[in-house]
């Protein structure tokens, strides 16, 4: 029987392989764009050459042979020089991979070279995925898998066509793509394509199951590729922030981090994600003084769990934060915390006094961490600062007074050594005398110098908001002197940094210790993922002022539109989803997808696996329990029903039930079984254990035994039915009579033998 659909010739298969190889190479090479690897030359080369050679393969044959001979030594030499010059193995390997991939995609290939392309591309896709931890990895790896399987399939077909030899078909380079794709479409069977799609979905499903089922145990190792790249911060959250940098971050609407909350009703009304505390005013911005930075304890050893500073909040809420790469090495936190867990072991540097924590370097990929016992009420206790602040020495040399719970204080007078520089929460040395005078005038205008820090902050905040509207597009008036003082003296609009900076200057001029804090404010509720999304546009700056009376640092947000200080009376909290701004639209859905990816895939670990197993087991046990209860209840009801006194209606019901059961069995035997047989026969048509043949054999044996016992083997009806049954048993399908009719006839013939049987029994 001739094949009705055309088949691809060896030349067409070679062309298809060429196309798929080029496509795989190109797409996997482009994934390097997501990484911060300096490979623009190799990427540019691949982007230009691979599509060209893929579309016009005849040019690949025009390359002189000596170029092919020189290519590999040249590439290896470049790699060696690269490695020697840059001393970074992984970027060098990525560039080597790109060069090899580019060369392979542009030179004539056999099956072995196709395999090399797949391996080189797999390396790039996996490395990119490990680095970016992006949901886009799923798309990339699925595309790669599909295309690579397609290429391997074409290679297998080519190999079998070539009689087991990896022979190159000649003339393949004269390709006409539209014609090839037309042929491909004609050769493809819709059912096969649908089945291939189904099988691919099956692969994805199987992968998901394997991913969940693979046993997890960690053998931690310090050497891993994501630590082989050095990366710089893309944003302005560093220890030295110039005015406008936070504002610049706020121009970006990308996600900074997403937050899963175990109890959405425990989310504070005002979310201030603290990242950095800055104390020193430079005239152009704020920076962390050397003394402030010394408050950081040395980075701990790499560990998954880290204890928080001092006393943690008794709050049981668990916050899981998926922190995007490129934001900062400082972790966004609401305040102090009890314990912090990472997905992978991390070294963590903490400042117990400032309640901030930082990784040893800026993460190159998403970092997920879980925080327990986080305090987000806007007031941070600092008993040591409270004690030191009351000492007369602080008043005279405030910059020398600071405590460090972890490293031990370097207090003045305790050692004979030169005292180290301390944080300067009252320092205004960067402000000129004239500007200082202006500040003092404004402070007296604000009033409340004798009051506590928060009181002054409220007055100053009101004063600032009365004089300056809020605008992201802010400018400071030109002129002499300090830029922040100039802005304070003007009526110009300002952004958060100017309001926070202005508040710092005014409070310090009034004699209140104050510090500037940068981080993120707020966030939106994503109903798709039931999580909080904080974007770069939520970047914010605010202050923390010392409340001497309570011994706490109180948050002060002077930016218009914000509560100046946290409310005195604790709020009655409701579900965050009903209070927060809802994030809707496709962007929110994508963010939700990303959170799902982080939550269920990236953060999937042994604990999650055990939880999954436990959950599945509990669910199954509950199902079994429920089923057993149903059966037991049904059984009890039936027994109770039978135990009741029998009357006519009950007898009728019992008889009807019995009749229905018998009728059902009879119908099944009469019609159902035959139809089942016919259906099975169609399905197993290709196999020897075909049900129709087995059934025919069964009837033949029955007829033979019965007729032999009764001596009626030569009855004409029996002979005829035996022939028909034999045909069903051994004949070709084409010669069959309808099997159901034959079996019915066999049954009838057996029934006809009954009188003979009775007569024989009577004779005995």
């Amino acid at each position: 029987m001739a094949n009705p659909r055309p088949q691809l010739s060896p030349i067409e298969l070679q062309q298809l392989r060429w196309f798929l190889g080029g496509l795989i190479g190109l797409v996997s090479a482009w994934s390097v764009f997501y990484m911060e690897v300096d490979a623009i030359l190799a990427l540019g080369g691949i982007t230009l050459t691979v599509p060209f050679f893929t579309l016009y393969p005849r040019f690949s044959l025009a390359v002189p042979a000596f170029v092919h001979r020189l290519a590999f030594p040249l590439i290896v030499t470049i790699f060696a020089l690269d490695l020697w010059g840059n001393r970074e193995p992984l970027p060098a390997m990525i560039r080597l991979d790109l060069m090899l991939l580019g060369y392979r995609c542009c030179s004539p290939r056999g099956p072995r070279e196709d395999l090399q392309i797949i391996l080189l591309a797999l390396f790039l896709v996996v490395v990119t995925g490990v680095f970016t931890v992006s949901p886009a990895f799923v798309v990339q790896i699925l595309f790669f898998t599909g295309a690579a399987l397609g290429l391997l399939f074409a290679v297998t077909l080519s190999t079998s066509r070539a009689g087991g030899l990896a022979a190159h078909a000649t003339g393949w380079e004269r390709v006409r793509w539209p014609e090839l794709f037309r042929r491909l479409r004609a050769a493809a069977d819709l059912r096969v394509v649908a089945m291939a799609g189904g099988l691919f979905c099956g692969v994805v499903l199987l992968s998901a199951l394997l991913f969940l089922a693979l046993p997890r145990f960690e053998v931690s190792n310090d050497f891993f590729i994501d630590r082989q790249l050095t990366k710089s911060s893309r944003t302005g959250f560093s220890e030295n922030i110039l005015f406008g940098e936070v504002n610049k971050i706020a121009q970006d609407s990308g996600m900074a981090f997403a937050v899963d909350v175990s109890d959405p009703t425990a989310v504070p009304a005002s979310l201030y994600w603290r990242m950095l505390v800055l104390d020193e005013y430079s005239g152009q911005g704020f920076r962390a003084s050397a003394g402030l930075l010394r408050s950081f304890a040395p980075a701990s050893d790499k560990a998954v769990a880290h204890a928080g500073p001092g006393r943690a909040s008794p709050d049981r809420t668990i916050w899981t934060i998926y922190y995007q790469p490129g934001v900062s090495r400082y972790l966004p936190l609401l305040g102090g915390f009890g314990r912090l867990y990472f997905g992978e072991p991390q070294a963590l540097a903490q400042s117990p006094a400032l309640r901030i924590a930082a990784l040893s370097s800026e993460p190159a990929k998403m970092v997920g961490y879980r925080v327990e016992g986080m305090d987000g009420n806007g007031a941070l206790r600092d008993p040591l600062f409270a004690r030191d602040h009351r000492l007369p020495a602080w008043r005279s040399a405030p910059s020398r007074m600071f405590s460090n719970e972890e490293t031990g204080p370097a207090r003045s007078g305790e050692t004979g050594e030169e005292p180290e520089k301390q944080p300067s929460f009252l320092d205004l040395t960067g402000v000129a005398a004239g500007d200082l005078a202006k500040l003092r005038v404004w402070v007296s205008e604000i009033g409340g110098t004798g009051a506590g820090g928060p009181d002054f902050a409220r007055r100053a905040g009101a004063w600032l908001q009365a004089r300056h509207p809020y605008s992201l597009d802010s400018t400071t008036p030109p002129g002499e002197g300090d830029v922040l003082v100039r802005w304070l003296g003007s009526r110009q609009p300002g952004h958060c940094e100017l309001f926070a900076g202005g508040m710092v200057l005014l409070a310090r001029a009034a004699g209140h210790p104050v510090r500037l804090v940068t981080g993120f404010k707020g966030g939106v509720w994503n109903p798709t993922s039931a999580s909080i999304t904080v974007r770069n546009s939520d970047a914010h700056a605010w202050c923390e002022i010392w409340d001497e009376e309570k011994g706490v640092w109180v948050r002060v947000d002077a930016t218009p539109g914000s509560l100046l200080t946290p409310p005195e009376v604790p709020e009655v909290l409701t579900h965050a989803g009903s209070r927060m701004v809802q994030d809707a639209g496709w962007s929110a859905r994508l963010d939700g997808l990303r959170v799902f990816w982080y939550r269920r895939i990236v953060n999937f670990d042994q604990t999650a696996q055990l939880e999954l197993v436990r959950g599945t087991k509990d669910h199954l046990l509950a199902l079994v329990r429920e089923l057993r209860e149903h059966v037991e209840t049904g059984g009890r009801k039936l027994v109770a029903w039978f135990d009741q006194p029998w009357d006519f209606p009950r007898l009728l019901v019992a008889a009807a039930s019995g009749g229905l059961l018998v009728a059902g069995l009879g119908l099944w035997h009469r019609y159902g079984r035959s139809r089942w047989l016919a259906w099975r026969s169609l399905r197993l048509a290709s196999q020897r254990q075909e049900p129709v043949r087995r059934e025919a054999s069964h009837w033949l044996l029955k007829l033979q035994n019965r007729s032999a016992a009764l001596g009626a083997t030569s009855a004409p009806g029996l002979v005829a039915i035996r022939e028909r049954l034999l045909r069903l048993r051994f004949g070709s399908r084409e010669s069959w009579a309808p099997p159901l009719e034959v079996f019915a006839e066999a049954r009838r013939q057996l029934r006809l033998l009954r009188p003979l049987k009775r007569r024989k029994a009577n004779r005995r």
């Binding site: 094949n3 996996v126 391997l152 992978e344």
Partner: protein, 342 residues
């Protein structure tokens, strides 16, 4: 068995698995899961590819030593949905092994035929086996090979040899003097009726008897067998000390038997001192050549030497018996004179 591609896949899987466990990195676990799934998918597709394919081997017609014979494999894809790709079939005929590829796709319900040309080296039994059915389908990770268990022993007849008719022999002269005939023995008195045998002239068919008995019957005349030959083959090792000469003798015996049967002049055949068998139909001749194909030299009898068969002992028919001729040749002797030699 994994191929090179499969070994690479396994090596990559092991590498990625090690890295995944080393780092608890879920991206690597995903990659590992996908690689393992691909391996499983490959196995499933490979199974599906072979599952519904049935095959039947045809061993060809008569096998003769030194001649090529075509062995055909009829393939059918009984799958209702999936085509079959990239199968190969390994056929072993004696020491000779050949592989054939299913180069084209075999669509659902379609059938195709693969052929091998096999040359039998010598007479006797030749084992023909479809040793394995294999495939690299679908991705070339695994080399699936299934032992088919299909095969048979075919009997190879002795080779056809060219021989020289000695024209001076009376045997050939008699035939030539009578001119061309369809079958010897169509003249003389009617002796009996017998079953039709291939080669019988249609005009000898007795139609009434055939209709009555429901199979063809032909008339047997008294002249039948008068000019026939009795062919006799001796296997005595003392006569045939050289094995190549014995092989040549068998080949000549088979060739002569066929030629004489075609001429209608072969009456009986015998091996050693057995009672001669009548050769009336093609199956009688086949039986004789089948025996020749299996024949080996026998030890000489311990008693007195076997007496040469006289013409009378075979019913007066002319006796052709084979004897060595020189160190390598073989002659068919008639009345002590060579009638044919090879």
């Amino acid at each position: 068995m994994p191929t090179i591609t499969g070994m690479l896949l396994i090596a990559v899987s092991i590498g990625i698995g090690t890295a995944a466990y080393n780092t608890a990195n879920n991206i690597l676990f995903i990659t590992l899961s996908l690689l393992l799934s691909c391996l499983i998918l490959s196995g499933v597709l490979s199974w599906l590819n072979l599952r519904a394919v049935t095959w039947r081997l045809h061993y060809g017609g008569l096998w003769r030593a030194g001649q090529s014979q075509v062995i055909a494999l009829e393939l059918r894809n009984n799958n209702a949905l999936l085509p079959t790709y990239g199968l190969w079939f390994d056929l072993a005929a004696g020491a000779d092994e050949q592989r054939r590829y299913l180069e084209l796709r075999l669509d659902p319900g379609a059938a195709t035929r693969l052929e091998w040309s096999v040359r039998a080296p010598r007479r006797g039994l030749l084992a023909v086996r479809l040793r394995a059915v294999g495939s690299l389908f679908p991705f070339g990770f695994l080399r699936k090979s299934v032992a088919s268990g299909l095969g048979a022993e075919v009997l190879v007849w002795p080779a056809v040899v060219e021989y020289r008719r000695h024209e001076e022999s009376v045997a050939w002269r008699v035939v030539r003097s009578q001119g061309p005939v369809n079958r010897i023995g169509q003249e003389g008195d009617l002796l009996a009726l017998r079953r039709y045998a291939p080669g019988d002239a249609p005009r000898t068919v007795h139609w009434k008897a055939s209709a009555r008995l429901r199979h063809l019957m032909v008339r047997q005349f008294s002249a039948e067998g008068m000019e026939g030959f009795a062919l006799q083959m001796d296997t005595d090792k003392a006569v045939w000390p050289r094995s190549d000469q014995f092989e040549l003798a068998l080949s000549l015996a088979a060739t002569l038997a066929e030629d004489l049967f075609r001429l209608g002049r072969l009456q009986t055949v015998a091996i050693d001192g057995e009672t001669p068998h009548r050769v009336r139909r093609w199956s009688d001749l086949q039986y004789f050549i089948d025996r020749l194909a299996r024949l080996e030299t026998s030890e000489p009898p311990k008693s007195a030497a076997r007496p040469p068969l006289a013409a009378a002992s075979v019913g007066g028919r002319r006796l052709l018996h084979l004897q060595p001729l020189g160190p390598r040749g073989v002659a068919a002797m008639l009345d002590g004179k060579p009638a044919a030699s090879a």
